[in-house]
Amino acid sequence: MKQNWLHIVFIFFLCTASAYAQLDSIQHLPEVMLTDSKLVHFSKGFKLEKLSDSLVKRNATSLTETLRYNTSIYFKENGFGMVSSPSFRGTNAAQTAVVWNGININSVFTGQTDFNTISPLNYNEISIRSGGGGVQYGSGAVGGSIHLNNTYSFKKIDTTEVGLRYGSFSTVGGNASTTQTWGDHYLNIGVDFISSENDYDYVGKEQRNNHGQFVRFAAKVNEARKLKRGVATWNSEYTYNDRNFSGSLNTKGKDAYKDITTRNLWQLQQKVGVFNTKGSVAHLFEQYNYFPESENPFNTGGKANTFIGAFQSEVLLQKKIRINGKLEYTYVKAEGDNVGDNSRKTLAAVLLMNYKLSEKFNYGINFRQEFLNDFDNPFLFSADAKYSVSKNYALRINGSKNYRVPTFNDLYWYAGGNIDLKPETSYQVELGQEVSVGKLKVDVAAYYISSEDLIKWIPGNGGLWQPVNISKTRNYGIEAVLGYFLKLNNKQSLDFNANYSYTKAEDLEKEKQLIYVPFHKTSSTIEYNFKHFSFYIQGLFNGEAYTATDNSESVASYTIFNLGAQYTLPFNPNITFGGRLKNVFNVYYENVAYRPMPSRSIQIFLNFNI
């Protein structure tokens, strides 16, 4: 079996080929503008995948679901709907940055984002940027970054969407949003919620998930206004999550967790001479409360306010050289029962350059230096290039130095927090190939990441656990994405998408694979479309992942399939209805050891597009 992965890799290399997984319906909209333009202009030599609207809607339960089935990112989910942390290219959860309209929103306390607390419906563009993004996105963009963007446009738009979802385990969801433009205004507002008893049975175990109820509510307001020589935008969102935490096969769930986040971003873009300038101010708020006994009001919690002020200026010289300079000041103030009352100031200077040497060749060089922090601020850099060998074939290469700063929990946790921690650093290189022949797109990327000074909590004398900059890891692997669209005739088409990843993530001291990093992960979807009807099969293979650091214990691999179908009534207003059967073969599987995932279940939905 050991040789199998080699086969796979070999096969993928032979039939070399990028599927920016799906063609995005957003792309068809005219003049859509991103609030975070760095993502497009300064990531040429990086793998950037965009998830289409239809994919997001299909997996609207949580961002975990959206990404699990459509990317090579692996999620460690503590039972369905519970805490979910990503591993991107074998890095840990705090080494994956989640970036909302250009701003890193990983928690001040944990340094990570719980992907089950994020509503995928709050954004009109979800992109995945693989590889190091520390220069652009700061701390934690090591394995890659997930971009949640709200776009805007000043073309005539008047759409209102209302969706209703209902499913097994008393799951009810709904969303409503409207997008309007008039004159120089763009306005998008929306709300959505999901609530579930989540009381699925553990397949073949005569046990139920009795303590996994969750509710999520999210609201958004996105506004843009065209000015004489620029644009003013406001992005705002609110999310509330209330969850009981599931037990495991041999423990009863007792605890609960509530969290609230608000995010606001105001930006003013102005053209001054040849310069495109942008000033922005942002405020992020996060609050959590952990209840050791869900029935008991006793809890511990924390809240943090982050204020960001930034100014950037961009210039395009001779239509070839794009240079962007940015200064960003961040002030974080956090208080919590376990971390006291602390603050952090950071000033970052970023310089990005992209040079389009020819239609075929493009390269970029980027730098970041931070100031003011108490700890040693590393100088970060990245370089990337893309070379289109032919119409069908392109090569890309990138290398970067990235970092992750210690979180407030790492620094100040009572007891154990260690204020002498320094940032984790990592170097990486990636080589990617993109092939596009007609409707076939293949992307194969190979990467190597070397990290040191990784922060790890270890037991010290007297049994006190403390974080120290101790471990070193080496990750390498291959990711392949394949997309193929086959038009059978005027009415019928087939759409195939697949992701495969081989990930080797090694603790260099122990020479063992890191826990909860499967070697193999594959997901694929085949979709059949017949006029207004579509049917799809979604498959996911998640390889065995070790759960003990000496690789002596593991959580078994699993393969699950989902089926879905939908039909759109071709009238105006149009109505789409459909459903999805998840875990068709009622397979018992665990994502985290001893924490079973749901049995076979069904979801139905009804969407009105007015």
Binding site: N250, T251, P292, E293, A415, P459, F496, A498, G543
Partner: protein, 349 residues
């Protein structure tokens, strides 16, 4: 094109094949577990099961995961400790809120106690048909801690005794139970004396009494002292209690930043763990810290018949080991792999 799709599918299949990789080996189950060492392995903290390792007295047999291999079921989450009475072993599984009872010689499951326990910690038996279980209750509530009194004929909790916060290890002497209040996730400094179903007395000792041994009518209590993060750091100490009068007769202190643990005794010598070393102290002339005889960070220690048994939990996320030292030479004589987080060492006679 078709070829590529085919190959992609082939890849999927190959990948799927890996799931058949389970190389489950039938594990060796000794015919009997008489005369040997049991090591309770807590198991991974959040997600998993603890288990028990058996090593025969003559070291000829080592068996892992003996409860599951005999009974086909797992013990549960956090195998905290075990105690004995007659032919039975009482295995305290704290996070699964239960006590699993197995025959100590065959390890066949006998019964279990699943009600009236709330974060159980340790078990002792007394007088043949009564058992006591220390319980934290809700760890965030310092006022709900108790001892559960178990009727060992029916294996049910017959009554509960409210006690001071953080009851942990227990020893018996002269039909009384001495409970060390280590203080759960916090700190406490008491020994409760239990007689029947009531608290007869409490004895104040040093902060964080974490281990005890009885020798004759003397109770030695090792107190870790408050750790520095409490802001009121106190020195570790060894407290000597005369059980015939129920009073502290002597307290020996260490330095303020010294926090010992795992007191054990063999012959007239006491052994304990401090700052990565094992110290030896002769009870005839106690002076702390004593002589350091062995280096190593051990999670727990037991001394018996001229040997020191030391459990190394390593990083608490991989298999640990049991290291055995000859106390006449202080040299390591054996090293066995255990389960994850070996936290208790017991002798089956």
């Amino acid at each position: 094109m078709k070829k590529i799709i085919f190959m992609a599918f082939t890849a999927l299949l190959f990948a799927a094949c890996n799931s058949d990789d389970d190389n489950v080996q039938s594990e060796y189950i000794p015919a009997a577990f008489a005369k040997g060492i049991f090591i309770t392995n807590e198991g991974p903290f959040n997600n998993g099961s603890g288990n028990i390792t058996y090593i025969s007295e003559d070291y000829s047999t080592v068996a892992q995961n003996i409860y599951r291999n005999v009974n086909g079921t797992e013990l549960g989450n956090i195998v905290q400790s075990m105690g004995f009475n007659d032919d039975n072993a009482y295995i305290v599984v704290s996070n699964s809120q239960k006590i699993v009872i197995a025959n100590r010689y065959t390890f066949q499951s006998v019964d279990s106690i699943k009600t009236d326990l709330n974060n159980p910690r340790y078990f002792v038996s007394i007088g043949g048909n009564k058992g006591y279980v220390s319980n934290w209750g809700d760890p965030n509530d310092n006022a709900d801690d108790y001892l559960a009194v178990v009727d060992l004929r029916t294996n049910t909790v017959s009554s509960t005794i409210p006690v001071a916060f953080g009851p942990e290890r227990m020893v018996t002497y002269n039909n009384k139970i001495y409970v060390a209040h280590q203080g759960a996730y916090g700190q406490n400094n008491l020994i409760s004396v239990i007689s029947g179903t009531s608290v007869e007395n409490t004895i104040t000792v040093g902060d964080v009494p974490n281990s005890m041994v009885v020798s004759g009518s003397t109770l030695y209590v090792l107190c870790g002292g408050n750790p520095s993060y409490t802001g009121t750091e106190t020195a570790g100490s060894l407290v000597k209690i005369d059980l015939s009068i129920g009073q502290v007769t002597q307290t020996y202190s260490l330095g303020t930043t010294q926090h010992p643990s795992s007191l054990t005794m063999d012959g007239t010598n006491l052994f304990y763990n401090l700052d990565g070393k094992v110290y030896k102290v002769n009870t005839a002339s106690i002076s702390l810290p004593g002589t350091d005889i062995i280096s190593g960070n051990f999670y727990t220690l037991q001394a018996k018949d001229g040997k020191l048994y030391a459990a190394d939990a390593k990083d608490f996320a991989s298999k640990g080991s049991l290291v055995i030292y000859d106390l006449s030479t202080n040299q390591q004589i054996q090293d066995y792999q255990t389960g994850i987080v070996p936290g208790g060492i017991y002798f089956n006679e």
